[in-house]
Every structure is written in structure tokens, then in C-alpha cells.
Symmetry: C2
Subunit: 391 residues, 2 copies
């Protein structure tokens, strides 16, 4: 199998109520990525597109076909993927396979979503369709409810008083906003405090408003290419060194493993093994912090903390930019925002940028970062992980 | 690249108003395919799932994750694809790449749809989202309207009186029903006459009711495997010898090529070249006959007839089971039915069965068929073609 490089990236402003259509957002990020890869649309051989709610937000299915045409990538094969919040990393992983196999040399991956287009009540209802429609959705299992239950389970499993866990969770959000304030693409560019989190509106006990990531409109794109192409167009190639993917099914089927998501441990093990690394080698991680408790759970499954201890490590600053493993230095889903079908590509964009050393001017460059990990969770059990490396 | 075999297939009854959920239909076809491949669910290494309207029909996104769990393919990577009516062949083509590359040995591909679950008015509205939401949908561009316009354009381009073209189109539907009557999986198992087509209700001039395929509920699945696995589990392997895919964008962008779809000629050329064959080598073809005029247009782009002549060839019986190129001996979308995200896998199932010689008892076996072609059209411009061969 050939090496696969990330040779360019594009990113729109993440925001609520974007005045642009999904297709316009996707085109903006895609053209940006192609230009930054020092290529033109005619060089693109295929498009892998992540989009979850296009039918609801824009009344538009098969956006990939129109994207290809609109940006001048005429008649290329174009795919659309759906894996809830893991949609875009699924697209990246599949695109990487087309390049690694030697069939294609240059593939554009674009993720896009207008999650705020429906207004919050309908967004919550449409998004609830990405849990099990037989057993979960009818029981009121919206995602805030899922993660609230996991928070209770986590507290009882590891014998942490709920008030203590809430402080730890608040610290996760505070850190995300600290870095998000430095990210010009972020939806929320302002700092918050632990006090503000704890005094905020209660969403579903124990999760308060600022424990929850927002709905977001936005798009991100990356161009993947063979090593040969990468060496021609950039002197700072970043490679996809490993990937993993697994699906766990609905939460009840994972009862032995909860509050941890079974698929994550399977997926990240594959990704680490393929890249020949362990968690101790990761210099920068973007993980799926849809809720503050989700960060704590994910960091443990990814191997950055013993079970029951990640919250404490957040409080000690071990996941800050100068800590042991810098996590979500982009602001994460919490502060940067969470356009569902775009999030995974945004994470890859961010990690690639860190590994290329391009974030010093934003005051959030991880010094000397060489190895990055991407982690996305779709619904209640799809995990995709990617390991990126610079050489 | 390794050879990729189709080693087993499963198919539910195609029908309107299925009492089963999409997940149940997908599980039924998948378990059938796995059993017929002489495998168990534990042998499946990944699932590639085609599904377009699951959010509307079942209130269920990411069906692939629950399918994996429900049928006992625990924790495997599972993908969902969307490319309108070409969704399922897109899934097959992508799955084939994972096997061809050497990364995976055994992949399940399942396509499923409950297109009648919403009732006809809503089905038409949801399905209209798979044309361009800026320029086409607001202009009343439902798919019957699209193909009616293409029929007018075809008649004027090739100087065929509309009444003559209508008779040719009627013959396409008559042939499809003739074979569909012999297919126990078909939605409509009864013959019709040219007179019945021409005296039927007018849908959109010149298309009458029996020029149009139905909405359908159903699922189909195939297991793809490496040559090594295929040789262990079957003495009748069928191989995916070639594939092609292209996206044309909305119809107005194809004005130079209409009534023919630009992407089809690009895609089928790739598929023929990869398989080292031409249209004259095809012994059996399943093509995308969403409307009778669509068959005529497709047969010409695929190389089975000169432009402007395919209707005449249908009338002469050249696409019958004993004709030059047997087309849609399954009954096609018209008579077998068209469960949108399942159609492509159903076509692959059918062609593989023909190449394995398994249709004699249904009275519709193409004698000595060795090479088959699959053709699917998604929306107004996504084409996927697959060439299957037995050795």
C-alpha cells in the first residue's frame, strides 16, 4: 500500500445561521483546499463528501454530485458518506484507501453541514434519528440525555462525587473555550470560567449548557495525495500513518463496556498498530467532545489517562498546549463548533496544520508536534480514528 | 490489485408497503447472502450499506451501525453511502476496492429502502431532493418531469414521431413485465400489453403510468471476497472485472449531451476498459430503467444501439432473452421494482445469478452467459457501472 499525504486544507468560518447554502460552504472549503495544495480543480480525480442532514437543511440530497460540477471537477466519481458525527472521518478514511491502493493519486475530501438551518427543536429531532429508532429514540434518547446518563454512570463506576465530576467537566469546557478564543474559524471565540459553566442553565442533569457543544454550520476540506504528488507540491507533507474504524450498535448492546464506547478501543488499537505508535507518542489530539463528559471518556479509551482519572488530569492541565498530551487545541467541538458531517475533516485539517507548524501566529502551536490523533464518534457507537505524522 | 469475487447474494421480496422496517429488510437480505456464501456473520470484516431515505421512511439514520450489530457482525467498520438511485452500486464499487487493495478479504454490501413508507406524495417530494435544489426542484423538476422532457428531446433530436416513440417505449415496459412475471422477487408479476400502456393514465406527457417504475420497499445484499476466499467457498465464482463511476451535475450543465447523460459514457468506458471488453461482449445487462425512455437512452450510451435506434431494437426483440444483448431479464426497475438505495445491489445479485446459471427454473436463464453489465443512474447525473465475469 502506498503512503497517503494530506497536501492541503480549507475551512470556512464555523457559525450559527450561515447565510450560505451547504453547497456554497462546501465549495468554499474545497476551493480553498485545492488552492492551498497548489493544484487546480482539474487535478482532482474523485470527491469524497461527508454530509448528514442536507435533505433537512437544504432540501438537497447527493450534494457531492453538484459540488463536483460547481467547482469544476467535471465528471469525476463523487461519493457521499453518512456515519452521523463520524461521517467526515469515514470519508477521509475511505478516500485514503483509494489513494493507498494506487488507483487514484489525488482525492478531495469535503465535509459540510448546516446543522442550525432547521432551528433548534427540529435539529434536535432530526439528530435523534442517529440513535436507534426502535429502542432509543422513542424513549427520549436525545444525545444530551445519552451523555447525561453516561456521566451518572461514570460518576458511580469510578466513585467520583457528582459535584466533583461536574467541576472536572466544567474545566474541560473552560480549556476548550480558552483555545477556541484563539481560533479565528471557531464559532465561540470567547473564554468562559468554571463558575459560568456551573451557574449556567441545566440541560439534562448533570449536563449544563456549557457542557454541551453547539449546533453549527460550516465546511472543511482536505486534499489527499500519493507520496509522489505530495513531494512535488509541498515541502511539508503530513501523512495518514494509521486508521481504524468500528461500529458498536446501540448503547444497550454495549452494557458491559459503558460508560466507555466499545468501538473506540477497537478502532484506536487498529490505528495505533497501523502507525506503529502508542498513546504516549501522540503530540496533539483532536477528540470528539460533543459533551464535556464525552471528552473525559474518550481520553481514557484513547490511552491518555487511566479510567476514572481523565477529569482530574484536565484539572491539572495535562491536556493543555504544554501538557503531556495537548487535546482540542482548536477549541474542539465545544468552542470551535460541531457541523456534524464536517467535523471529522475539520479535525484532520487542524491536526495537519499543527504538524506543519502553521498555528504559531494564532498563539496555539504545539511545539515540535510530529504525531497527531483524530477521534470521532458517530451516534452511539461509530468510531473512526486517524493517525497523522510528519516526517 | 487483487481479483474481487461475488460469492453470495440475498434478496427480499420487492413490494409496496412492506410490514418490515428497513433494518429488518436489510438484515433478511444480509443473512441470506452470508448463508449462501457458506459463511457466518463472524467472517464479515466490513459492511458497506446503501440507504437513501431511511430518515424519512423509518426515522433512522446510520442504519449500517445497527445492521452490523443486529446480524452479529459485531464491531466491524460499517459505511453508509448515498448517491440517489446509484447508491447501492456506489457501495459495491467501494467495497470492491477494499478487497482489491488487499486490506480486507470479505465485505458484505447491503442496499435497502422503504420508498413507499411515506406514501406517494411525500415520496415524490423527498425524492425530488435528489435533483438540484437551486435550479431544478423549485421549477417542478420531479423525475417524471425530467424524463418526460428527455423523451421530447429524444423524439425531436432523432426525428421520431412522438406517437412512434410512445409505442417503442411501451414495448420496453411490456418486455420488462414479461420477464418480471417470471421473477418471484418482483413487485409486479404480471404481463402487460402495448395497448394497456398506451391507454393508461397520463403522468406527464408523453409518459403514461406504465412507462414509469414504481416506488418499492426491499433489500438486496451480496458478499464480496478475495479470489482466495472465493475458491474455498464456491465452485462458481463470479468476478467484478471492471467498474466505472462519474458525476455530471444538474441537467442544464449537460445541455450539449442531452438527452444522453454525460456521466454514463465516461463511466462505462472506464468499466469496459478495466474489464478488457466492449459492448459486443456483454451477454446480460441490467440497466437503469426508471422510465421506459431511460432504458432507450441508456442502451445507446452503453453501446448496444446506435443513437436514435434503441426503441426500434426493443420492438425487434434484440434485447429479449434470446436477442443480441438481453436487457433487464429480471423485470428491471419497471417490473421487479425500484427500492432506491437497494437497486444497484439487486442488479448485481441478478447478474451474478445469471452468470452462475441459476435462473433456469424460473424460465429466464440467458444460456451460457459469461459477461454481465450493471448500469445505475443516480439523480440527474451519477452513473456507476460494473462488469461481472464468470471464468
Amino acid at each position: 500500500m502506498r503512503k497517503v499525504a494530506v497536501i492541503g486544507g480549507g475551512h470556512t468560518q464555523f457559525m450559527a445561521e450561515s447565510p450560505n447554502t451547504s453547497l456554497e460552504l462546501a465549495a468554499e472549503a474545497s476551493m480553498d483546499a485545492i488552492a492551498r495544495a497548489n493544484l487546480t480543480p482539474k487535478d482532482i480525480q474523485a470527491i469524497c463528501c461527508g454530509n448528514v442532514l442536507g435533505e433537512f437543511s437544504d432540501g438537497q440530497g447527493m450534494i457531492h454530485s453538484y459540488l463536483a460540477n460547481d467547482i469544476g471537477c467535471k465528471n469525476v466519481p463523487a461519493f457521499r458518506y453518512e456515519g452521523a458525527c463520524a461521517t467526515a472521518t469515514m470519508a477521509v478514511r475511505d478516500a485514503a484507501m483509494w489513494v493507498a491502493s494506487g488507483v487514484l493519486d489525488i482525492v478531495l475530501v469535503c465535509g459540510v453541514e448546516k446543522a442550525t438551518a432547521m432551528g433548534t427543536p427540529l435539529a434536535t429531532r432530526t439528530f435523534a434519528m442517529f440513535s436507534d429508532s426502535r429502542f432509543e429514540t422513542p424513549a427520549g434518547f436525545t444525545f444530551p440525555a445519552v451523555f447525561a446518563m453516561l456521566a451518572h454512570l461514570y460518576a458511580s463506576h469510578y466513585n467520583i462525587p457528582l459535584e466533583k465530576l461536574k467541576e472536572q467537566m466544567a474545566q474541560v469546557s473552560v480549556q476548550s473555550h480558552y483555545y477556541g478564543a484563539k481560533n479565528p474559524n471557531a464559532q465561540f471565540q470567547k473564554e468562559i470560567t468554571v463558575e459560568k459553566v456551573l451557574k449556567g442553565p441545566m440541560i439534562t442533569t448533570p449536563l449544563q449548557l456549557l457542557d454541551c457543544c453547539p449546533f453549527t454550520d460550516g465546511a472543511a476540506a482536505v486534499v489527499l495525495a500519493s507520496e509522489e504528488v505530495a513531494q512535488k507540491v509541498t515541502d511539508k507533507p503530513v501523512y495518514i500513518a494509521g486508521s481504524g474504524q468500528a461500529s458498536s450498535g446501540h448503547l444497550a448492546s454495549q452494557y458491559k463496556h459503558l460508560p466507555h464506547i466499545r468501538a473506540r478501543e477497537i478502532s484506536v488499537k487498529q490505528a495505533y498498530a497501523m502507525a506503529g505508535i502508542g498513546p504516549e507518542d501522540v503530540d496533539i489530539c483532536e477528540l470528539h467532545d460533543c459533551f464535556s463528559i464525552a471528552s473525559i471518556i474518550a481520553a481514557e479509551s484513547l490511552g491518555f489517562a487511566e479510567r476514572g482519572t481523565a477529569g482530574e488530569m484536565w484539572e491539572k492541565g495535562q491536556f493543555k498546549i504544554d501538557g503531556e498530551t495537548p487535546i482540542n487545541i482548536s477549541g474542539g467541538l465545544k468552542s470551535k463548533g460541531h457541523p456534524i458531517g464536517a467535523t471529522g475533516v475539520s479535525q484532520v485539517y487542524e491536526v495537519a496544520k499543527q504538524l506543519r507548524g502553521g498555528l504559531a501566529e494564532q498563539g496555539r502551536q504545539v511545539d515540535g508536534a510530529k504525531v497527531g490523533l483524530v477521534d470521532t464518534l458517530g451516534g452511539d457507537g461509530i468510531i473512526v480514528n486517524l493517525v497523522l505524522k510528519r516526517e
